[in-house]
């Protein structure tokens, strides 16, 4: 059932050929934490205002506050403010200049693509997964193309947190763009240990927990698939640092919502979704597993519908910001994710084919908003979410194998 809307706003009513009447503001199923609503202007610009009661619609005054109380003339991209706060609970600590990030593992430490990408214009950089000790990674081959996607089994090769701090953090400290360190481990102590070392290091803007790692303490069961372990590792890291904390969800679970809620309750500032889907490939010549590690993670356009579904479910289950990852390769893909409730996106695999994709999305998003008289992309967020708070995604459940 379509809900009747009654938006009161001083902005002109803009119609979008795809979206229908524009919805000014994200409808949230639950009330937002107070801290964010009273945050700094920069911080609150990261979130489309607190919801007004149960209706889930922003009050006019809040919409006005966001646009500076003025209608935005079309076709003036410069004044579109694409900034977004990924940690509204820590106002001003992780405000991105735009909602397009680069995904962990696909952009190294931000320097490798330096000759061809103006990294300072990115929303944020998530660096390669970092562990307490150096890791050599999995045996090759480690990547292979699959229909509309690729499998990778890098095995978290990285020089260890100390080397990352020594080699890269000083560089990052001189950059405008926030660098978020992606952290991996095999035990809660591992994670907390890495994060304790990163805490307070200039150049480290935040933490993204990669919990799609085997938990040695629980017989190798991934943290990400175990609600209690996911919450415990989040809580331990929350203890260890005051840095903005993003937790990255795995799609390889039966129901993501309780896991997302447990992570939120344990103190995460935002959720990122999704990590790769587990898969394998067979070498057509030898009829043996192609990847040295047998198993790999599927990424690219092939996983987009799955990631959309998960973002859609998570955005309804939690109040903290959700960042979408999975096959983003164009503005249209980013808009899909905004509609499904994400406030920002990460671009991964698409960078390999075209390193210019992330910045092109930024420019096109700015133009898109300007054309439609939007002061920000945030009104585009959540337009696809159902009206009733917390309505279970019945279709998703029915079709889940």
């Amino acid at each position: 059932m379509k809900r009747k809307r009654s938006v009161v706003t001083s902005s002109p009513r803009v119609r979008d050929p795809y979206l229908g009447p524009l919805r000014l503001g994200l409808r949230r199923p639950r009330t937002r934490p107070q801290a964010a609503a009273s945050g700094s202007p920069a911080a609150s610009s990261g979130w489309p205002g607190a919801v007004s009661g149960e209706s889930g619609l922003p009050a006019a005054s809040e919409a006005d506050a966001r646009t500076g109380g003025r209608a935005v003339p079309a076709a003036r991209p410069e004044i579109v403010d694409l900034s977004v706060d990924l940690a509204p609970r820590r106002p001003g600590r992780l405000v991105l200049q735009n909602p397009v990030m680069v995904a962990s593992g696909t952009f190294g430490y931000g320097i490798e693509y330096g000759e061809v990408v103006d990294v300072e214009r990115l929303g944020a950089i998530c660096c390669k997964g970092t562990t307490l000790k150096p890791r050599l990674g999995n045996p090759p081959p480690r990547v292979t193309e699959t229909p509309a996607g690729m499998l990778n089994s890098i095995g978290l090769q990285n020089p260890g947190v100390d080397a990352v701090i020594e080699r890269y953090a000083p560089l990052w400290a001189g950059w405008q763009v926030p660098v978020i360190v992606n952290v991996a481990g095999e035990s809660i102590d591992d994670y907390a240990g890495v994060v304790r070392k990163l805490d307070g290091v200039p150049g480290v803007a935040g933490i993204e927990l990669n919990i799609s790692c085997p938990n040695v303490g629980r017989g190798g069961l991934q943290f990400a698939v175990d609600r209690d372990a996911a919450a415990a590792v989040t809580a331990a890291v929350r203890e260890a640092t005051d840095l903005p904390l993003l937790v990255k969800l795995s799609p390889n679970v039966t129901d993501i919502r309780p896991i997302a809620q447990a992570i939120e309750a344990a103190g995460a500032d935002a959720l990122t979704a999704i990590n790769t889907l587990s898969g394998i490939a067979i070498d057509r010549r030898t009829r043996k597993p192609l990847l040295g590690n047998v198993y790999g993670g599927l990424s690219g356009p092939a996983i987009r519908p799955v990631a959309l579904r998960i973002v859609y479910e998570v955005a309804q289950a939690v109040d903290i910001p959700v960042v979408a990852i999975g096959g983003v390769s164009s503005l249209e893909d980013a808009l899909d994710y905004f509609a499904a409730g994400a406030v920002a996106v990460q671009v991964g695999t698409a960078i390999f084919a075209d390193p210019e994709v992330p910045l092109r999305i930024v420019d096109e998003l700015r133009a898109y908003c300007a054309e439609r008289g939007l002061a920000s992309h945030l009104p585009l967020v959540g337009t696809a979410l159902p009206a009733r708070p917390n309505r279970p995604s019945s279709k998703g459940v029915e079709y889940r194998p």
Binding site: G108, K128, P140, P141, A148, A350, A353, P355, E356
Partner: protein, 285 residues
Amino acid sequence: MRLLDAELVETREILPRQWLQRYRAPWLAAGARAGQFVHVRTPDYSGLVLRRPFSINTVDRVASEITLHFRTAGKGTELLAHARPGDTVPMLGPLGRPFEVDPRTHHVLLIAGGLGIAGLRALIDESLAAGRQVTVLFGAASAGDVYPSSLLPDEVEYVVATEDGSLGQAGLVTDLVPAYEAWADQAFACGPRPMLAALAALARGRQARMGVARLGRKRGGGKPVPLGSPQARRRSWLQVSLEQHMGCAVGACLGCVVWGIEGPVRVCREGPVFAAEEIAWEESV
């Protein structure tokens, strides 16, 4: 390294399913060195999400052109083979580290297994231009796969081995090498991994066999140089160009590693050219 659109000037099938394509690409022609490669984007991103790596086959600085030589091996190369003159093909390059020739080297031995010639072809031109003598040992399964000698400069000595004996010497190209190991100041190889591994084993024994003859030349002597450095390659008798499946081709994803003697090395960044002694050949890949 730069993102660029190369314009296809000429394309022809030089051997069954093997294409030689000439591209106008001033940036690559101006800066590329033998051994480097380009990462080529296919026109079908929605289906093929990865670029394809190809060696820079030849470089013509005057005409601002480069050539690629490839075999159709799957969807990506199939699409590339269908490109027509005038089409633009997005490329990223030049990438990777080049071959390093010692300034004192006079005799250059190139050992190519099949398509491996594409990885060495530019080094022929560079070596001749520097006044060096070049011998190319080429191995293929049979006469139909043998690189046409008409595509090589006249100054090159070209020796062929075919596995079925249909052209040149019967057997493997590696069998030809011992006859040249004393003559060659340096050797450069590109081809299937087993061929390169056999050559690396040969090169290891060479030091002992040549010991007396090489006294006084001081090559490889002097102070130690860091592993993976251009100097290390320059001092090495055998340099190899390796292949590995790639993601980014700029060193960011760690997808293209092979096992070096001190752990994983990236073919796109530390390679594709390595000194033979830098590679852990006993590992299968």
